[in-house]
Amino acid sequence: MDTTAPLIDIRNLVKHFGSVIALSGVSLAVNRSEVMCLLGDNGAGKSTLIKTLAGVHKPTSGEFLVEGQPVAFASPRDALDAGIATVYQDLAMIPLMSVTRNFFMGREPVKGIWPFRNVDFDHCDEVTREEMHKIGIDVRDPHQAVGTLSGGERQCVAIARAVYFGAKVLILDEPTSALGVAQTSMVLKYIHQVRSKGLGVIFITHNVRHAYAVGDRFTVLNRGKTLGTYKKSEIQIEELQNLMAGGKELQAVSEELGGMV
């Protein structure tokens, strides 16, 4: 494994669904300890891109390298095994299940001999409590239902789970879009914390402010194409907004309304 190569490197990725061209040449790279923000309006191809990275879709053509090695994922499980973890906005946690059961869902550690093999829930509770403590979420009782956590806390638990299970790259699908201000800052802070651990983060959002708060680099997607990648030092928040929303129209509306949209 090449340790200097980007964690994820995609070049000229194309994805067709029948006659629909969802992605027509997307290039993107994520390095260690970096938050790469993927910006784009609705229909820009963000979801297709994430799902391709997560192993849900197979690319029609283009290169997909993980740590310098070309990969072809057959299922989301393959992507997970390669260290690419995706945290979906609503589809990460099950509200009726306990924090512990959610945390270990799909990867329950078992002990004993079949057919009496059971899950080591004491160990699970221990780990969950510890991990929650690390990220500053005060889990009163790991048996409490996830439904009792706030939206921000749920996102953080989902991220903590991915980190605990050895993710190298985190793909966060609009983690802040349904959250209030306090909740958002909680999630953004945690993203910052994850980056300092050496993970690469792909942060998908259409909120430029949230992106600018934690991002190192910004890739703007429009109509299935990358418009370009910019370092934080190279671009201002207003420019980013214009790029993302197709610029001119929004500016016109903005002037019409007498302010920034």
Partner: protein, 397 residues
């Protein structure tokens, strides 16, 4: 602080959330002193909340209420050993179905074909014994295989079409009931009852595992020592525990262990709670659901074998409306109709409540036709109670 803790019980989560959401914005590293106090205060409620969180709480409370009701209104003979066996016997047959239905409901699906499955597998089992002349063990194994295949078809149908299991299995309710009628007439030359299965099955260890009573030795010992009632000739009035009750209890224990302590159990909760989230986390949702449909069908086959061997015959009305009774027992036991929540032990209690009410009314001065009223009221109460509990548990507003 102690008192404050119990006040929190009324709305522990709302309060806790308020504290928590404001905390991260204040400072990157939250003050540990503040945190420690929070922990202390909030742990106080956890014991009460823990009890509240058990899905079977409602069923247990219901069982206590129903028992009190019959203790005060019914003839004392209801609660003798013989009376209890009288209640548990039908409860156990329903209970085996209810526990399987509960697991399936927790997994997010319904099976309305359970009752018809009992009739159909009863016919299949009878056919293997009388027509094919197979030994009992082979016939039983083959019946389970047929049931598992039918259950698997149910499951695959639901998964592949993505239609609600309610509709798909409703279709099977009629298909299997109709096939049972047609099959019986074909096999018996026009009758809707198939006789002689008991005689043909023979005796032996396998037979004893599926019919008659268990622990006869214990009961005659107890009678000999005047611990339980006996006839003048010395034989106990209750000769043993009907074998279906033993199966019922074993199945309840196994299902509870599966649900609460194993990986498969976690997958069942996950599949029913949110199939998409479960899939994203690597849970094989389709496999779990198919297995549950197969288990439900196998439970129906077990009930068919137990009742057919006991009666010695089978008929087309066997298991009639048992699908509804099983689902009612599961709901009384704390299962949510929407899946992802419930318990096997709750369904166990639900089935006992069911048996107690249906048999118990004959011990009282009430007309036993009140049974259905009682049942409906019980179901309504259970649903309201479960809904309330779920909101408390998940902090849903």
């Amino acid at each position: 602080m102690q008192v404050a803790g119990s006040f929190f019980f009324t709305d522990p989560f709302g309060e806790a959330l308020m504290v928590n959401t404001t905390q991260p914005t204040a400072n990157l590293a939250p003050a540990t002193a503040v945190k420690a106090i929070q922990d202390e205060r909030l742990r106080e409620v956890s014991l009460l909340t823990k009890i509240m969180r058990r899905p079977e709480l409602g069923a247990l409370a219901g069982l206590v209420l129903v028992t009190i009701f019959f203790l005060s209104t019914a003839d004392a003979s209801m609660f003798t050993l013989a009376g209890i066996m009288n209640i548990l016997s039908p409860a156990s047959q329903l209970g085996i179905l209810a526990i399987a239905a509960a697991l399936l409901m927790i997994g997010g699906e319904f099976d309305l074909s359970i009752g018809s499955m009992v009739a159909f597998t009863g016919l299949v089992f009878g056919g293997f014994i009388t027509l094919s002349g197979w030994p009992l063990l082979v016939a039983i194994a083959a019946t389970f295989v047929v049931a598992a295949v039918l259950g698997g078809i149910n499951g695959q149908m639901v998964i592949r079409t993505r239609l609600p299991s309610f509709i798909v299995t409703l279709a099977f309710l009629f298909i299997l009931r109709g096939l049972s009628l047609v099959g019986l007439k074909w096999a018996t030359g026009g009758s809707t009852q198939m006789r002689g299965i008991g005689d043909q099955a023979g005796e032996g260890l396998i037979r004893e595992l599926f019919s008659g009573v268990a622990f006869e030795g214990v009961f005659s010992w107890l009678a000999a020592h005047d611990i339980i009632a006996k006839f003048p000739n010395g034989t106990p009035t209750v000769t043993g525990v009907p074998i279906s009750i033993v199966w019922f209890i074993l199945f309840a224990l196994a299902a509870t262990w599966l649900l609460l302590r194993t990986r498969a159990g976690n997958w069942i909760f996950a599949a029913g709670g949110d199939a998409n989230a479960a899939r994203n986390s690597g849970v094989p949702v389709d496999r779990v659901k198919t297995a549950l449909f197969m288990l439900t069908a196998a439970a129906a086959a077990l009930v068919a074998i137990l009742t057919v061997l006991d009666a010695g015959s089978t008929d087309a009305r066997r298991g009639f409306q048992k699908e509804f009774e099983a689902i009612i027992a599961a709901v009384i036991g704390g299962c949510l109709l929407t899946g992802g929540y419930g318990s096997a032990i709750g369904a166990f209690f639900g089935a006992i409540i069911f048996g107690m009410v249906s048999i118990g009314l004959t011990y009282t001065r009430f007309d036993s036709d009140w049974f259905q009223v009682f049942l409906g009221a019980m179901l309504l109460l259970a649903v309201l109670f479960n809904n309330f509990i779920r909101r408390k548990v998940t902090g849903e507003r």
